[in-house]
């Protein structure tokens, strides 16, 4: 089989688009994980909440898309902030596994609530760019995918810049390494944690708005969390650029394996790669190994 350069370019572009979504969800995971040591399994359901809120605003409320997007992002951010301040904060200092369990519980409750409010049907999200295609030379890309790539790049730069270059970012980093010490040096740790969760929630809401036009507004959208987790682990479990690169890698591997590998591999290739990477490099592709001091 000759390799068609147009096909390759097309696959790469599709891979980058899906990968950007994975990376963006993973970015939200990394943010909360770094700041509060909680791996947020509810991130996928926050994303679903974003998709449904956006749909309700646009399809039911007739709100114009840009305004609906802003409202959704703010709403999901506020929801995440409320979850942190009201629930997750109570388990600070407990083992990581408690955080996993608690956020799984929150995910279940969110999913249950969403399905109670909206019912089990799936629906499509009308946006100004739904169904449109952009041609870059001979390569086609759907407009929603293009939006995803642009937004993902922008958000990553924003998050990275915020953590690296501002006082706020330094405070977050300090709190993530030692909450007690940070608290004693006058950093408002609780408020910072809520802030980070709000930010991660906003990213989740954004992801919901970006993902829904590519597929449908549906409860099963939460499963993108599994791919994002894989991306996060590949990227080294706590690194923002790592999460994005991990997401892109998984998106690309999926697209290419769909064409070049036997049928059915596409769905599980992300997980095979995940296991392989963990076997060979237990701290991910970009993570550093830390020995524990005794």
């Amino acid at each position: 089989m000759g390799l068609d350069p147009v096909l390759l370019a097309q696959l790469t572009l599709n891979g980058i688009a899906t990968g950007a979504i994975y990376g963006l969800v993973a970015l939200g995971l990394v943010l909360t994980y770094k700041a509060t040591e909680v791996l947020n399994f509810a991130q996928g359901d926050l994303l679903v909440a974003g998709a449904f809120i956006g749909w309700a605003l646009i399809a039911l409320g007739g709100v114009p898309y840009p305004l609906a997007a802003v409202i959704t992002v703010v709403a999901v951010g506020a929801l995440a902030c409320g979850l942190e301040a009201g629930v997750v904060r109570r388990i600070a200092g407990q083992p990581q596994f408690s955080g996993v369990m608690l956020t799984i519980a929150l995910a279940f409750m969110l999913r249950g609530l969403i399905s109670m409010v909206f019912g089990p049907d799936s629906r499509s999200l009308p946006t100004p760019f739904t169904g449109q295609t952009v041609w870059l030379g001979p390569v086609a890309i759907s407009a929603p995918s293009l939006v995803v790539i642009v937004v993902a790049g922008f958000v990553t730069l924003l998050a990275f810049g915020l953590l690296r270059a501002t006082t706020l970012g330094v405070a977050i980093q300090a709190a993530s390494q030692n909450q007690l010490a940070a608290y004693l040096s006058g950093i408002p740790v609780k408020r910072l944690n809520s802030f980070v969760w709000a930010g991660a929630g906003a990213v989740a809401g954004l992801c919901g708005l970006l993902l829904a036009p590519m597929t449908l507004v549906d409860l099963s959208l939460w499963t993108v969390l599994l791919k994002a987790l894989a991306a996060m682990v590949l990227g080294g479990f706590g690194s923002i650029p790592g999460a994005l690169v991990g997401g892109l890698l998984i998106g690309l591997i999926e697209q290419f394996s769909g064409v070049f590998m036997p049928d059915g591999i596409k769905d599980i290739v992300a997980y095979i790669v995940l296991i392989g990477v963990l076997m060979l490099r237990p701290h991910g592709l970009f993570g550093e190994a830390h020995g524990r001091r005794v």
């Binding site: 040591e37 791996l39 629930v87 109570r90 388990i91 600070a92 200092g93 407990q94 083992p95 990581q96 596994f97 408690s98 996993v100 369990m101 608690l102 799984i104 519980a105 929150l106 995910a107 279940f108 409750m109 969110l110 999913r111 249950g112 609530l113 969403i114 399905s115 109670m116 019912g119 089990p120 993530s176 390494q177 030692n178 909450q179 007690l180 599994l226 987790l229 894989a230 682990v233 479990f237 706590g238 059915g264 769905d267 599980i268 992300a270 997980y271 095979i272 995940l274 296991i275 963990l278 076997m279 237990p282 701290h283 830390h290 524990r292 005794v294």
Partner: protein, 358 residues
Amino acid sequence: MRFRYHTRYSDARKLLPWTEGRVAYLLLVLALIAAPFVLQRFWVGELSYIFILAIASLGLMILKGYTGQVSLGPAAFVAIGAYAHALMLDAGVPFAVSLCLTLIISGAAGLMIGLPAIRVSGLSLAMMTLAFAVIVEHVLGRWKTLTGGFSGLPVETPVLFGFRLGTPTAFYFLCLAILIITLLGLVNLMRGPKGRAFVAVRDSEAAAWGLGIDVARTRVEAFVLSSAILGLSGALMAHHVQHLTPEGFGLLLSLELVLMVVIGGLGSLRGALLGAVLIGFLPRLISMAKPLLPAQVSAQFGLEIFAYGLVLAVFVLFEPRGLEGRWQKTKAFLTSFPVYRRDTFRRQKTYMRSERLK
């Protein structure tokens, strides 16, 4: 308040030192033996299912509760056990032999994932087991020639020493017997050197190495033991559902099993059983509660998953030691009344010590 006075070291090894305890457990076993003759058919089946869940929960408790290795994909091993058993019965392997082989096969599957997992722990291990479970589910759906894919695989009726165990009552006793045997074996193992080594690996790997415990090997052993028991429960599960489909062994079953050990109370076999009973009955409790709820709530499809989440959240927040912890507290309250001090079980406030650098 009571104290145990030992006059010989062997006194300390007694499982049930008090007469009340012995009587209580005897009554429980008698009640369970009488149950199928009293209860309706439906409830006999329900109880059998809870016994099966309890076996699986015990298996997972060994891995998570005793060795501290997080698995988010235990359903994969249940599935491997179920399919292996069903296929062997199909091929004409006798029931008892097939059950033993199922133990070995699912144990070997545990070795397959346990060996590479030596180097990862904590959340990475959770991710790895989760990924393994997703892969197993997909393979079962895709490998149609072997598993029948999504259209499913019928399971033959168990035949033990010439007796067909087709009736709900016969199957009930089969599950109960296997549960009791598994439980007693694990109770013995966990209070012996092996169980102590598991706990050592969970609480401090550095100290465990220093005492001559082969940490890597112990972790793999726990994986193998746990998967073998999960596989065993899978074999019984196959008979319970009678028709195997991959969806039955998805993420939801994995999470249900994890819920059982967490809600039951990590590090306790009794907790594993209590958790299985609570989570196993939860769907029934919810359907019983439905008539009491307003119609627009009770008709909703998401109610069940919401209830799972709520129960889990309540336990993580308010009773992190699970049902077992509640049991201990109640017992302490009753035996030390009226001088019970709430602070006996209070946890020390710990500030976050990052586990990331472990």
